[in-house]
Amino acid sequence: MAENKDHLWKSPEDSPEKIEDLVKGGSHPVGIDVGTSKVVVSRRGGKDVACASQLNAFIPVPYSPVTERTIQQQSDIHYYRDGDEIVIFGSATERFANMFNAEARRPMADGLLNPKEKQAWPVLEAILQSLVPKPRSSSEVLAFSVPAAPPGREAQLTYHEASLRQHFTSLGYKAMAINEGLAVIFSELEDHNFTGIGVSCGGGMCNATLAFLSIPSIMFSLPKAGDFIDHSVGEAVGEHATRVKVIKEEGLDLSRTPADKLEKALHIYYEDLVETLVDTLRRTIARAEKLPRTERALPIVLSGGTVKPRGFRELFERTLRGRSFPIEVAEVRVASDPLTATARGAHIAAMFEK
């Protein structure tokens, strides 16, 4: 499908989020966080690092010339035509989902390409194409994030990683995959010589990596994150998961007493997620056969959209303190920009390989 739909692309030059707009020229390595909920790209533009993102979602609407003309009149909508449907993807998806009172669909689920979604690959390809420009030279490096292998789903991860690598290579990049938790360590734990624990809680899964001097020692993923909270809360209180997500992102404060039933449910499922995460982290470290010897306590850095609500760090720290942890923890902190930490880390890896 990808090869014969070029004429249907809306010109990528119109995209306000396109990373090329942020880059003034020259050859630049690219870092990409391919997340279940969002795709974030990081690239150096002049002296600064610039980030751009798209929602990793889509919604098909019935095709009609009128609909297409209406869409064309708005410059911030990405779409392509697929037979008798118009597939709207990226950040405009939520607007259309509300308009048509329908759930947005996802090319990815639980951190990997969604095997149940027929449109998964064409849509993800379109989203990536809207964010990543063609390389200026054949030696440009692109680092993309991948989760740690979820237990029993190694084959699915192989397919996911290989598909992305193939896509970026076909664009002309020298593509490399980097573990998501390690990317967080690269962007946030430079002061600690890239030693510590990087946790990324996104939409589909939580990823954690323990690294010493930039080398990953322990990596794991947990298929429980933002989407799990949205769906569980939605089921508990009889709301659409999409609405739960909006409320969650608009100003949830986990340090405050819940004001209503929905907030109470959000608190319960956030606590459940953090309990599972801390417990898995504790067990994985305790079971590790050989860790490098180090005298110092290690920092933990939290990133991803799910850690954004106020009070998340305190909840995590409280849960951590309530258990005997196999290593000494120096501090728990939230990434300077939780939404872009993985992409910025991947960008550092790409610059290293340049």
């Binding site: 001097l213 930039s214 306590a297 920092p299 501090e331 290293f352």
Partner: protein
């Protein structure tokens, strides 16, 4: 965007790093000073790297420094592992402290499923010099230690003849006829083991599936055969080249640990089908029916058939030891006896011809440079006869006679001289060239060309098969 809350101590060892909120902080300009040199002779490499790493402020430069330093430590570790004699090596590791950095030697430094291949940088001149000085000091220290060694100390129970000697490897006695049963069959099996009628016990706790075995054979003078085969038809013997500790009671823990670590590594990377540890225990790693990684670039032949990649058609059997040049037998009696039972079992089960039981050193090639002996384990000194096999060291080397391969200075530096089969193959090449009225070089070039063609054909065929398998899997996954 909301400003994030900054960290607090949980364990209380160090104050948190001061950080600002809001968008990612702009980093201070990169230090333009050169990357610090790698420390080599340090008792605590990790602390040393930590200290030096903190002086670099640019994240990419810091990452480069850490990664390259660790790669150099890994290269140093490999060099020290090549120091002859276990006690000397132990002393070298104690002096350099390089073992401390070993948990950081990673084949997968990006944490991805399919890690990129690494090109390890060579040790810098300063580091090489330091390593050489250390080796000299070690030899001197070892000499002193040996001079003061109490003569009444009993010899180790099972000595490892690791020191180079000028005499050829001693072949162990062949098994007396009538002792071995005519056939080998499974007598018993249970969780973690299989027992066979010739006394062979296979530990299966580390057993893992590999890629399906699938290969084609080349007919000499014709080309690649059309039949796709999936049964093993040969055995390739290896040495593990791993940590070897003295076989003494006081080293029990080290001996056990190094075997377990080795097995975990082999399982993870699906290397070899069998490992025979220092005590003669036989561990199955990759299932015999599947392909293991052990002899990728290699050439062997029997009759009119030639094999270009022995991972497909053979079973890899490794002895936990270091080859050390093959002038002394580097395995214990227990390993030898286990190797003999395992060979009998494999040959009986898969009807493997004696001509197809070969060592890695005899078959391994550098395909790009058309050189033999890319890996040299058991390139000399394997006890073929004692295992009931023909002496393949005397057999004309297939890589030389069929494909005109040669050898280089590095090969001679390790081997001293090629094994007799290489000379035999070169004599044949000369005779053939003379009969055809051509030079040996012309003949070699022509045959190397045939090898390149065949290898290319084999690679393309494997890729096509892989793509077809992937397409089938995709179709199955999409329900179509």
């Amino acid at each position: 965007m909301a400003r994030v809350v900054q960290g607090r101590r949980v364990g209380g060892a160090r104050p948190p790093a001061a950080r600002g909120g809001g968008p990612p902080p702009r980093r201070p300009p990169a230090r333009s000073s050169p990357v610090p040199r790698t420390p080599v002779l340090r008792r605590h490499p990790i602390a040393s790297l930590e200290a030096r790493g903190r002086t670099i402020r640019d994240p990419v430069e810091k990452l480069r420094f850490l990664r390259r330093s660790l790669e150099r430590y890994e290269a140093l570790d490999e060099r020290l592992q090549a120091v002859p004699g276990a006690p000397l090596r132990w002393l070298a590791f104690r002096l350099t402290g390089v073992e401390e950095a070993r948990p950081l030697f990673s084949g997968n430094p990006w944490g991805a499923l399919d890690p990129p291949r690494r090109a390890r940088p060579p040790l810098p001149r300063r580091a090489r010099r330091a390593a050489n000085v250390a080796a000299l000091l070690l030899v001197a220290a070892a000499g002193l230690a040996l001079a003061s060694y109490p003569r009444s100390r009993p010899a180790p129970a099972v000595p490892i003849a690791a020191a180079p000697s000028t005499s050829p490897a001693e072949a162990l006695d062949p098994l007396p006829r009538g002792v071995a049963p005519a056939r080998v069959w499974m007598v018993d099996s249970g969780p973690g083991f299989e027992l066979y009628s010739n006394g062979l016990r296979i530990e299966t706790t580390y057993s893992i599936a590999g890629e399906p075995r699938r290969y084609r054979v080349f007919e000499i003078g014709q080309g690649m055969g059309s039949e796709v085969l999936d049964r093993p038809v040969g055995i390739v013997y290896h040495t593990s080249e791993s940590d070897i500790w003295p076989l003494e009671e006081s080293f029990n823990e080290k001996l056990r640990d190094s075997s377990q670590n080795l097995l975990r590594y082999l399982k993870k990377n699906r290397v070899y089908h069998y490992l025979i540890d220092r005590f003669g225990q036989v561990f199955r790693v990759v299932h015999e029916t599947d392909k293991a990684n052990h002899a990728g670039m290699s050439v062997w032949s029997t009759g009119s058939r030639a094999y270009l990649n022995l991972n497909g058609p053979t079973v890899g059997v490794s002895f936990e030891t270091r080859w050390e040049g093959g002038r002394a037998l580097p395995i214990t009696r227990a390993q030898f006896e286990a190797g003999r039972s395992l060979t009998d079992y494999l040959r009986d089960k898969w009807s493997i011809e004696a001509d197809m039981c070969v060592t890695h050193g005899l078959a391994s090639v550098n395909s790009r440079k058309h050189l033999i002996g890319h890996h040299l384990d058991w390139a000399r000194g394997f006890p073929f006869e004692a295992l009931g096999l023909p002496d393949h060291y005397r057999r004309a080397s297939p890589a030389v006679v069929l494909f005109g391969f040669g050898y280089d200075e590095q090969f001679l530096a390790v081997m001293g001289e090629p094994w007799p089969g290489v000379e035999e193959a070169e004599r044949r090449l000369e005779d053939e060239a003379a009969a055809a009225g051509r030079t040996v070089d012309e003949l070699r070039r022509e045959r190397a060309g045939t090898y390149d063609l065949w290898l290319d054909e084999q690679t393309r065929e494997a890729e096509t098969a892989e793509k077809a398998a992937a397409a089938t899997a995709r179709r199955a996954a999409s329900g179509g």
